[in-house]
Assembly symmetry: C2
Homo-oligomer: 298 residues x 2
Amino acid sequence: MLDKISGLSAFPITPSDAEGSVDETGLRRLLARLAEAEVDSIGLLGSTGTYAYLSREERRRAVTIAAETLGGRVPILVGIGALRTDEAIRLAQDARAAGADAGLLAPVSYTPLTDDEVFRHFEAVAGEGGLPLVIYDNPSTTHFRFSPALIGRIARLPGVVAAKCPAPEPEAAAAGVATLRAAVPADVSVGFSGDWNVTEALIAGGAAWFSVAGGLFPRTCLAITRAVQAGDAAQARALNAELAPLWILFKAHSSLRVVYALADHLGLCRAEPPRPILPLAPEIRAEIFATVRTLSLA
Amino acid sequence: MLDKISGLSAFPITPSDAEGSVDETGLRRLLARLAEAEVDSIGLLGSTGTYAYLSREERRRAVTIAAETLGGRVPILVGIGALRTDEAIRLAQDARAAGADAGLLAPVSYTPLTDDEVFRHFEAVAGEGGLPLVIYDNPSTTHFRFSPALIGRIARLPGVVAAKCPAPEPEAAAAGVATLRAAVPADVSVGFSGDWNVTEALIAGGAAWFSVAGGLFPRTCLAITRAVQAGDAAQARALNAELAPLWILFKAHSSLRVVYALADHLGLCRAEPPRPILPLAPEIRAEIFATVRTLSLA
């Protein structure tokens, strides 16, 4: 099912109740919207999908629900990160058994980890998890900083198929993407996250956009992605510029908190983020809804 | 059982096997050593006690083992941190039922948390956990940075009895301790961790030393603590200066990895840290053992 990871990978929230039980109806509605828009893959249980806050059992349930809903129409990448190596292996095995096409593995840390510890962690999960792996580089949540050399070293492990890296600032996009591409074997995709910076990273040669906005507004984000893929950088930049007010909100309040507010506002699901994360204050929500009304989002 | 938290609080490792099952014999041996030395309290399941890597069931087991071993001779502070607020409440309730005297609550994060989210988290756990709380400020592991104002705000919640803060650099000890003391009500203890910087923080008025070295060498750390308590700063500084080679190792390789190597070397238990954390390389272990042989540690 999984060919090379490229294009738009949409990362939805995982609606759940106050006890951490996944809202099946809400999740199906979010996923169906992504499948109808024909995104290139879905990043289930990413950071935005609150994988770190859900039990093993609920994570397995979410994958099962997604596999049923999508019925093979869209590849499913699943967050399998955990603090313990043995737990990440079990989560990879669970995800595979439930129908995942690849695992998103972030080096979640409490005790700060060394490069060698992170390498061994990926080696163990790639070897024993039975699932193709995407290196999930997200220093704002894991607090681990990958060097391009370490990404390259891990990318050479059998079973590693892609890397999801923070998009460089636009002015550094060409150099940043070139450095990563030079570090990573040609058959391993290098894609980017951090929606506000991704368009330039795609234009600079990034293979995929791992997108929070894409989890809610897949058609809007696909338009940018397809413009880049068609070689029309000017069109991609123009479409991206229209979204600048959304990117400002993401940077100010975190993309996760903003898309929770919007999913509720759009009537897609009524979920709140898992505590201790709080819903945004009413005045911030009002600002978000007013801003989004002025944008062409779909 | 718990009076005001002061003096030496010793933080041992929690020996466990590769599957994360606590080694009862090893833990009892470590705890008996601390009780015999008459430390002022024990910090069970702190960061060094790998609470973040152990299941709820094993954390409950560790508290039960500790309460049995100590039989009320030494107050037990127990790490109850978790990513989810409801889980931290359950862990506080478990710890209380198993015999803990207080809970150590760190604002463990994945999605970066706001001040208000951390405040509400502490409020919920203090209110529903049923256990006196120690604010556990450890930005190197939680990646949350407390301001003195936020510590002061949380310290005013009913049930909060102490704060465990990173000790300032020695040259900033007086100002740093004074700032915290001014922020926190008089009946709430302010103590410090980061062994290499604590002596000056105690001399500057810190009430307690939350100590990794103290979990393995309680008599050595008690000698420093008692010298400060007796008003003999010169003696405390002289004893602390003798430990400089140990502090250098802690800073270079992390105190957690060093005390795992030493607990094994001293024959106290055979545990390795939970993967992905790796045992230190043989050449580093050899350097540690050679250094420790030159020090008076007990």
